[in-house]
């Protein structure tokens, strides 16, 4: 009796044991590690945003002192930034309202387009699936403004703006009204199309994994197709739907290029354009941070709704390890018709922009196709003419290739880090589902998404002037890129992990497979496709990112910097050519990975 008493562990060793046994579960280790990491990496930016919103800088102090006769000096605390912005109808409330509308429409369009497409591909016997599926993601691979440009090129007409005659008018004589060329309509549509692949990937992934029995069960109960869709399919893809809305809505809120391109000329101004104007003026920069806070709050709200929703409703495990048969809905005679419609739509949104890049890179005078030349690709002399240092034709241009390599290197490293973290976060969050820490981690992982790229870059510029060893290094870009793109991967990682039932892993636990082995041999291969899209999405985004890195790099480090150089210098042949090159490289990477692993960004679940 006494003996066993003496053996009884002390309180301390009890606590130690509790800690040890808590950390003997990998999911616990991961969730704690990521919680700490994310707090460190996101709290500082958050702190910077808030500090800048509540204090005045040198120029702001000058402005307030001049205009409002205050006696502020650099670094003083103030609420003026809030007061000024929140009482400004034109700089805040109207653009906010515009942003909200645009984002809502864009989300809706993305979901309708991507969702319908996902349904057609995963649930019907539509023709040419493989082709459609890989082409549908092109609009996401291309920078969003390229679609805006296409929009303008097609629909501009003699009654709008400077009266450039667009393709539609020159071919058919039809002139669309001004609101269809510039304003909220094209903005929402272009953003919606740009992000539709998102919806396709996320919703398609779930649909593909979903046991068709679930739908068939309802068919047997004699439910109509519409009813099945409404009552069975939609609720099951709801989590994916919410993730889509979350990403598309926030991305659209923060998007800058498209509203500037097809919004501003129609006097349609949104929060992001106002934000960047306020940000670009040092004297109003504090107000831009107030706006950032508003954007963050909206994101947090969306995130809250998302968590509330997925927390409240049962989460749907769609891969149980019990395989169901997939049966496709027969489209019958509609098949060809739908396929033709798809071909036309895809041609417009995916193929046409690429062709136009190619053509524009091969004409001497913009828009004049009688001046075709390969000079900008093949010349071994400076092609910039008298004005610009453009270097040789693209294929022989050392500047372009070294910048391209810089971009590829950065994107590869970032995507490797981000993709892996995304899977681990997804694993940890799925296993610790419902716990506070899991909520914290998935929330924090999303946070970087809500800080505008420009501000994010600026914050890390400040970091690097304190941690000088980071300055101008690839490491800094890697860190910034990794944090910024974590939301993509963490979403896709969480989504796919949530779909895997715990039994699948436990079956491997029982036979003694170690954690790395379970991850590598069991979990990863099953959800290979969605995980790989968790790697590919950051790669694509990173390849065409500029505003995030612009402050942290020097000339020639990244291809996008060179792209904007040629753009600014109006050597459109070079900028179009580089754009084409970026698209081709991303497609090549996608294609290579597809061939090597059988998985690709557009596939939900591969495995066979």
């Amino acid at each position: 009796m006494n003996k066993s008493d003496a053996k009884k562990p002390s309180r301390f060793s009890n606590a130690l044991y509790a800690v040890r046994s808590y950390f003997s579960v990998q999911a616990n280790v991961l969730i704690v590690v990521f919680a700490i990491l994310l707090i460190v990496l996101t709290v500082y930016p958050l702190y910077s945003v808030f500090r800048s919103a509540f204090t005045v800088g040198k120029m702001e102090a000058m402005r307030y002192n001049t205009l409002m006769h205050t006696k502020l000096s650099d670094g003083d605390l103030t609420l003026l930034n809030f007061r000024m912005l929140l009482t400004d109808e034109f700089k805040f409330w109207r653009p906010l309202w515009n942003s909200l509308r645009m984002s809502a429409y864009a989300s809706l369009i993305a979901i309708l387009l991507g969702g319908t497409f996902a349904f057609l591909i995963t649930r019907t016997d539509i023709r040419y699936k493989k082709f459609f599926s890989s082409v549908f993601i092109f609009p996401y691979i291309m920078p969003s403004w390229t679609l805006a440009l296409v929009w303008k090129n097609v629909f501009a007409n003699s009654h709008v703006g400077t009266g450039i005659v667009g393709m539609l008018e020159s071919l058919t004589g039809v002139c669309v009204p001004g609101w269809a060329v510039y304003g909220i309509f094209p903005c929402s549509l272009v953003m919606g199309i740009h992000y539709a692949p998102f919806a396709y990937i996320l919703i398609g992934g779930t649909l593909r994994n979903m046991d068709a029995n679930l739908e068939e069960a309802a068919t047997i109960l004699q439910a109509s197709r519409g009813r099945i869709l409404r009552k069975i399919t939609v609720p099951i893809v709801m989590p994916a739907l919410f993730s889509t809305v979350l990403l598309v809505f926030s991305s659209t809120m923060a998007s800058y290029a498209v509203p500037v391109f097809v919004g501003s000329p129609g006097n349609f101004f949104v929060l992001s354009t106002q934000l960047s104007q306020l940000y670009n003026t040092m004297a109003t920069r504090g107000q831009s941070y107030v706006m950032t806070i508003v954007l963050i709050l909206f994101g947090v709200m969306l995130l809250g709704i998302n968590t509330w929703f997925t927390g409240k409703r049962k989460s749907f495990t769609t891969v149980t390890g019990k395989s169901g048969q997939v049966s496709y809905i027969k489209l019958g005679r509609a098949n060809t018709l739908i396929a033709i419609i798809l071909v036309i739509v895809l041609f417009l949104i995916a193929i046409f922009p690429i062709i136009s890049f190619a053509l524009e890179s091969m004409v001497e005078v913009q828009g004049n196709y009688s001046t075709l030349t390969l000079k900008y690709w093949l010349s071994r002399e400076d092609v910039g003419g008298f004005a610009v240092n453009a270097g040789h034709g693209i294929l022989f241009n050392g500047m372009i290739w070294s910048a391209m390599w810089g971009s590829i290197k950065l994107s590869l490293i970032v995507s490797l880090i981000v993709g892996t973290c995304g899977i681990l976060i997804g694993y940890a969050v799925a296993r610790k589902r419902g716990t506070k820490l899991a909520g914290l981690v998935s929330g924090l992982a999303f946070f970087p998404y809500l800080v505008p790229s420009m501000a994010f870059g600026a914050i890390f510029l400040a970091v690097s002037s304190r941690l000088t060893f980071l300055r101008g290094t690839l490491l800094l870009l890697v860190i910034v890129g990794s944090i910024k793109y974590l939301p993509f991967a963490s979403r896709s990682g969480t989504n796919s992990m949530m779909q895997l039932s715990g039994e699948i892993e436990e079956a491997a636990v029982i036979v003694g497979a170690s954690w790395p082995k379970r991850m590598l041999r069991v979990l990863f291969p099953i959800q290979k496709s969605s995980f790989i899209s968790g790697y590919l999405l950051p790669f694509i985004s990173c390849m065409r990112e500029l505003s995030l890195f612009v402050l942290l790099t020097t000339d020639g480090m990244l291809i996008t910097k060179l792209l904007s150089y040629f753009d600014e210098k109006a050597v459109s042949q070079m900028s179009n050519g580089i754009n084409l090159l970026i698209v081709i490289i991303v497609l090549l990477v996608n294609f290579t990975i597809n061939k090597l692993t059988g998985a690709s960004i557009d596939k939900g679940v591969g495995g066979n």
């Binding site: 053996k7 009884k8 562990p9 060793s13 009890n14 044991y17 046994s21 003997s24 891969v319 149980t320 390890g321 019990k322 395989s323 169901g324 048969q325 039932s501 039994e503 699948i504 436990e506 079956a507 491997a508 636990v509 029982i510 036979v511 003694g512 497979a513 170690s514 082995k517 041999r521 069991v522 291969p525 099953i526 290979k528 495995g607 066979n608």
Partner: protein, 370 residues
């Protein structure tokens, strides 16, 4: 093969108690069924023994080896417990072929290549799935997937095999077949089987002992026939048996150490118990299995044929007595006209008396009409 001992095992999630102070001893080579309705804690118990779930309190031992102890801070991971687990949804890895699924565990255990292929071949043969060796799970039917899952679980020769409602996804015919095979497997392997089910018939037919659980609390742990014949309480009595036991409110007054006078369904009768018993109050429930209500012209009781359910081999007759409907099972096919008068008796020494308040069994014996 080990003996599994659970001592005061409790599992709690916040305020919700999944399993409450469970004590259980599973003999070496036994086929124990954890039986109960969904949410009763049976799966949790199974997962705790396997190590997939960590108990809040208590101790779990395999023979003398402590697998888990909240006091001594011991928790052996599932892989080191040398157990097999058959999941409800099979949890076959969709990206591996049947062979790969079966071989995976053996590879993990670092078996030699030759041994692995020999064992896989053996398992394929045992489970009669040789022809599917190179197929993917998605290309198999439910029954075939089940066989693969069993093969995968058995391949590493686990000391104990845990099964979580493994047959619930199969159709009735297949389920019957698989039951036979499981029982056969149990004999052939000699392993300890712990089996979770909500199907009392499965529990009755398969197991050497049934562990009946309700709301996290152990109700009875005994061999199937004992559970059937001498259920510990009303809950068990009601759960086990199909059609279920007739439970009739009654009044009882003791007339001797083993005798009492009972009044039920407007009739008086003497109860002669098989052993001495006590009556805490006069309110009791009478438990009569359907087979103890033989229908015959000279029966002591009378009722109306409420409905007749012939199943070929036997017929269940629902007899209405006053407001109560009783079930009787008779051999062969008989069809009574609805509302026809029926006479029946109460036979055998297996009639049970339960305490109405606690539900506990008080006595078993025979009912004699004076």
């Amino acid at each position: 093969m080990p003996k599994i001992t659970l001592t005061n095992v409790t599992k709690q999630w916040g305020k919700f108690i999944g399993v409450n102070d469970l004590n259980l001893e599973i003999e070496d080579g036994a086929f124990v069924t954890l039986l109960g309705s969904s949410g009763c804690g049976k799966t949790t118990t199974l997962r705790m023994i396997a190590g997939l779930e960590t108990p809040t309190k208590g101790e779990i031992r395999f023979d003398d080896r402590i697998m888990f102890s909240s006091e001594k801070n011991i928790n052996i991971p599932p892989a080191k417990r040398e157990v097999g687990f058959l999941f409800q949804n099979y949890a076959l890895w969709p990206h591996m072929t049947v062979t790969q699924n079966i071989a995976f565990g053996l590879e993990t255990l670092k078996w030699k290549k030759a041994d692995i292929s020999a064992r896989v071949a053996e398992m394929l043969k045992t489970m009669r799935i040789e022809q599917f060796a190179e197929r993917y799970p998605a290309e198999l039917s439910g029954g075939q997937q089940q066989r693969v899952a069993i093969a995968r679980t058995l391949a590493p020769k686990p000391r104990v095999l845990f099964m979580d409602e493994p047959l619930s996804n199969l159709d009735a015919k297949l389920r019957g077949e698989m039951r036979t095979e499981l029982k056969r497997l149990h004999k052939d392997t000699g392993s300890t089987f712990v089996y979770v089910t909500h199907d009392q018939l499965e529990a009755m037919t398969l197991s050497s002992r049934i562990c009946m659980m309700n709301e996290g609390v152990l109700q009875q742990y005994a061999p199937p026939l004992e559970v059937y014949n001498r259920p510990a309480n009303l809950f068990v009595a009601d759960f086990v048996g199909n059609p279920s036991m007739n439970i009739v409110d009654a009044r009882a007054v003791k007339t001797g150490p083993r005798t009492a006078e009972i009044e039920f369904l407007g009739r008086r009768a003497a109860f002669q118990a098989n052993e001495d018993f006590e009556l805490p109050s006069d309110k009791v429930s009478l438990g009569i299995r359907p087979e103890f209500l033989p229908i015959s012209q000279d029966g002591d009781m009378e009722g109306m044929a409420y409905s007749t359910l012939p199943a070929g081999m036997e017929t269940t007759v629902k007899i209405k007595v006053g407001d109560t409907i009783l079930s009787s099972v008779v051999f062969g096919a008989i069809d009574y006209e609805t509302d026809a008068k029926i006479r029946f008796g109460i036979s055998g020494s297996g009639i049970l008396i339960f305490d109405q308040e606690t539900g506990g069994r008080l006595a078993s014996g025979r009912v004699v009409f004076q």
